[in-house]
């Protein structure tokens, strides 16, 4: 048997399992919201743009759908993380703070560095999706460092 249930859980273990189930539900809600948003954006896009490929200005959506997706994105990128912040304990909150700090510092540094490199003819001009990607990658990298090194 892969998983064996413990018959006599102490009050602490039962509470820990409840916390783990809540955390999995949190991840599932985030995944479902992200999946719905990504699917609708890709399936109902009337233009040739892509949110991640750099030509996002060619993206064209129905106004109502755009408002719905904007609301979904606000929930996914703002409300759910803030809610999660209140749900986790102090260790995970510390890891998250390290991740958000790494992300913020990366963006603060990335734009001027990118602009200067562009001025020197090395790279194309800075663009929003690229800076968003820098923030996202830095957040994940910072979280992993905090998770395994701190």
């Amino acid at each position: 048997m892969i998983w064996k249930a413990k018959p006599n859980l102490g009050p602490g273990e039962a509470r820990t399992r409840q916390r783990q189930r809540r955390y999995l539900a949190y991840l599932a809600v985030g995944g479902v919201l992200g999946g719905i948003t990504g699917f609708l954006t890709g399936y109902l896009d009337k233009g040739d743009g892509n949110l991640l490929a750099g030509d996002w200005d060619a993206l064209a959506l129905e106004p109502g759908l755009a408002l719905f997706l904007a609301a979904m994105l606000l929930i996914g990128f703002l409300a759910v993380p803030l809610w999660g912040f209140a749900m986790v304990d102090e260790l995970k909150r510390e890891h998250s703070l390290v991740a958000y700090t790494g992300s913020s510092l990366a963006v603060l540094a990335a734009f001027p560095v990118w602009a200067v490199l562009h001025a020197g003819g090395f790279v194309p001009p800075p663009h929003a999706p690229g800076l968003w990607l820098v923030a996202f990658v830095a957040m994940i990298a910072s979280y992993l460092v905090a998770r395994w090194r701190l």
């Binding site: 102490g10 009050p11 602490g12 273990e13 039962a14 509470r15 820990t16 399992r17 916390r19 986790v88 304990d89 102090e90 260790l91 995970k92 510390e94 701190l150």
Partner: protein, 66 residues
């Protein structure tokens, strides 16, 4: 910061998950405290002390006391 959490837990035959649930933190937090990777906040340190019916300084040692 050194601490006696692992010993105190073992004396009561509690798993990390059991202690985590009683303190309302994650099992990872208990593990991080036991291994010295995370210093608990003052409120959590008080909860730990109350759970074991001890003083904070009897559980945690910052190496400053003679």
């Amino acid at each position: 910061m050194k601490n006696r959490l692992k010993v105190l837990r073992a004396e009561r035959d509690w798993s990390q998950a059991e202690l985590a649930g009683r303190l309302d933190v994650s099992r990872q937090a208990v593990n991080a405290i036991e291994t010295g990777k995370h210093d608990p906040s003052l409120p959590l340190a008080f909860r730990i002390a109350r759970l074991f019916d001890m003083r904070i300084e009897d559980i945690f040692d910052d190496g400053e006391l003679p």
